[in-house]
């Protein structure tokens, strides 16, 4: 088993400049009843995206055809709250491969990385620069380069580096999976158990 490899992505982006987007907004609890990982994208941001009659709300960005792309750009403290991995599955299933924010909640960050969805943390000012670029031209593209750990706003040339754990970077670049690694060291785990 493996996750999708990630190297470089050049794409337009979808701006969601709201802070503290919690995982209950990303995927409400009533849509967590599946027993497989598939199909959660349909209910991504369900209550922001659809009204009571299940009609798309025209003022929500995912329903605005002006914006598209594989990069979601969100406000500070993205993915807070519940540990539901379904949030990462829903974002990935909808077609996003990168989420950019100025701050991520811990559990969400781990869940995203475990599913080949790259969380990119940038400074508040760079986030503002991205939102400004998208504001003036919705088609403006970003380049996310994992190897170089760099995001570039192609229309302005502004760029910023981002941090990622070297182990996780290697996993994503190669499509490795944590469980494969842990299974490979089971003997070490058994040895450890003898000491406790």
């Amino acid at each position: 088993m493996s996750v999708d490899k990630f190297t470089t992505l050049t794409s337009a982006c979808v701006p969601l400049p709201i802070e503290n987007v919690d995982t209950d907004q990303i995927i409400p609890a009533r849509f967590l009843k599946a027993t497989t990982r598939d199909g959660f994208g349909e209910n991504l941001f369900r209550d922001w995206r659809y009204d009571k009659e299940n009609k798309p709300k025209s003022d929500f960005v995912l329903n605005n055809p002006t914006y598209s792309g594989k990069i979601l750009v969100a406000g500070r403290n993205f993915g807070s709250g519940s540990s539901r991995e379904h949030a990462a599955w829903a974002i990935f299933d909808h077609g996003f491969r990168v989420v950019i924010s100025s701050f991520f909640a811990d559990i969400f960050k781990n869940n995203a990385l475990n599913n080949g969805l790259l969380p990119v943390q940038v400074s508040g000012s760079f986030l503002a620069a991205i939102l400004k670029a998208v504001g003036s031209d919705p088609a403006s593209k970003l380049e996310v380069n994992l190897e170089k750990q760099e995001v570039t706003i192609l229309s302005t040339g502004q760029k910023e580096g981002f941090d990622i754990n070297i182990y996780k970077k290697t996993c994503l670049l190669n499509g490795y999976d944590d469980i494969d690694y842990l299974l490979s060291i089971r003997e070490k785990i058994v040895e450890f158990e003898k000491k406790i």
């Binding site: 209950d24 009843k33 599946a34 807070s80 519940s82 990462a88």
Partner: protein
């Protein structure tokens, strides 16, 4: 080198480290429920492997279960499928399940401690962010995603980056009518819903020491609501007395050996924390939230901030929250109307919470405008409540005790607050739609919930004490 309590537990569980990467952390106890485990078991099946250490995991259905007529088949097909899947998966892999009709069923974070499955010094995980609850026993306990649930089932380990350490000290004496829930809501309102991100928090100080295990669990439970990976409290006689004699607790000579070890679980006097915060218990009043994250809280006699008090970059988010809640900036909390009251959840669904609520409403009547759902955290809590006559006290005041589960805390079952209605809830999250689409949640203690339940308005419980 001097170590914090967190360092001592973490370091003794590191199997190996990955260069420039996370640690391989051994997990002593794993709790699973019906919502975040099916895909993990499916992963094992796909790899053709079995659960590595089945005796270190226990399972119970809680998120999805109805809180009435639990002896009947679950009506919601999808919920029933998840619960059935948990039964099937645990049976196939030899994992202990406390099913719907077991006397030990309940919310995972209520039953772990009740069974003595939770013990000081352990590493504990669960596919649920409120796993931080178990930190009350001096454990390194934290929530994980489903991929990590699969890792634990497959290898009894997870890969984790060691968090930074924060200590929050609360000294002094709590005022009348001020409880553990108010302490934690006060802390979160001070440091915000993201102020603890990247940290593991140790709670210390005389006000924490005086709390019961139930109160300590309430505090540690909401560590995640400030973004922290978890929270913990050094174990003491209160802890040891709680654990002793429980089903999974060590017995005889083994108890003495464990107890000697547990007594070493303190932060060394010269241990260094990455951040230290101090509060005075006397400054805390009963708390209530007004917005759509747990950091948006005020003392009950306080007011919602004026827009001019909010930093410019946060105004869009603040105004969105005010619009959702139907509140005006700058208005007082006292006197606002309340439609629903929910008492329960892994935060405040334990016996002490039911006792406090029942003692408050005794001799009073539920307000006719309020619908109240009182949901015990577990079968054992329910049984104890019946033994103590709490059900009768509640009935006389116009309340009814339901059956255990997560219930309206996340509204996965039928316990949903209707759109636009105001609910004072003892649970942990006031996010948009958390208690049902369009539901408006105000987080508070069981005492403040009781005061709202009898008056139909946001009311200072101290007025009645």
């Amino acid at each position: 080198m001097a170590k914090t309590l967190f360092d001592k537990i973490w370091d003794s569980h590191v199997v190996t480290g990955i260069k420039d990467g996370p640690a391989v952390l051994y997990i002593d106890r794993h709790l699973i429920h019906e919502v975040t485990s099916p895909q993990a078991f499916a992963g094992l099946d796909k790899r053709g492997i079995r659960v590595f250490r089945p005796e270190k995991t226990v399972a119970t259905p809680d998120h999805n279960v109805p809180t009435v007529n639990q002896h009947l088949t679950i009506q919601d097909l999808l919920s029933r499928t998840q619960v059935d899947k948990l039964t099937e998966n645990t049976k196939r892999h030899g994992v202990q399940l406390y099913g719907l009709n077991s006397p030990n069923q309940g919310i995972v974070h209520v039953i772990g401690p009740e069974l003595g499955f939770t013990q000081p010094g352990m590493t504990i995980v669960c596919g649920d962010s409120h796993t931080s609850t178990h930190g009350a026993f001096g454990c390194v306990a934290f929530g994980i995603g489903t991929s990590e649930v699969e890792m634990v089932l497959a290898t009894q380990c997870v890969l984790q980056q060691k968090p930074r350490k924060m200590r929050i000290t609360i000294d002094g004496t709590l005022g009348k009518g001020v409880t553990a829930k108010d302490i934690i809501l006060y802390i979160i309102s001070n440091i915000s819903a993201s102020g603890g991100t990247g940290y593991f928090i140790e709670y210390a100080g005389s006000a924490i020491r005086r709390l019961s295990m139930e109160g300590r669990m309430t505090i540690c439970n909401m560590s995640i609501e400030m973004g922290a990976r978890g929270g913990l409290i050094s174990p003491d006689d209160t802890t040891f007395n709680y654990v002793k004699g429980r089903e999974f607790a060590p017995k005889g000579a083994e108890w003495d050996k464990k107890l000697a070890y547990w007594k070493t679980l303190v932060s060394d006097p010269d241990a260094v924390f990455d951040q230290e915060l101090r509060y005075d218990a006397a400054d805390i009043e009963p708390m209530i939230t007004y917005g759509t994250n747990p950091g948006m809280g005020v003392g009950i006699t306080g007011s919602i901030p004026a827009l001019s008090d909010i930093p410019e970059t946060n105004r869009l988010t603040f105004e969105k929250a005010m619009h959702y809640m139907g509140f005006e900036n700058g208005t007082a909390m006292l006197g606002k109307p309340v439609d629903f009251v929910f008492v329960g959840s892994c935060t405040n669904g334990r016996i002490e919470d039911l006792r406090e609520f029942a003692a408050f409403v005794k001799g009073k009547k539920k307000s006719p405008r309020v619908t109240a759902w009182i949901v015990p955290g577990s079968r054992q809590v329910e049984k104890q409540a019946l033994n103590e006559g709490i059900d009768k006290m509640l009935a006389e005041a116009g309340f009814e005790l339901r059956q255990p589960g997560c219930s309206a805390c996340l509204a996965m079952n039928d316990d949903k607050i209707p759109e636009g209605k105001y609910a004072v809830s003892t649970s942990n999250r006031n996010f948009e739609g958390r208690q049902g689409p369009g539901a408006r949640t105000l987080l508070a203690s069981p005492l403040t919930a009781a005061a709202a339940a009898v008056t139909g308005r946001i009311t200072d419980p101290r007025d009645f004490l």
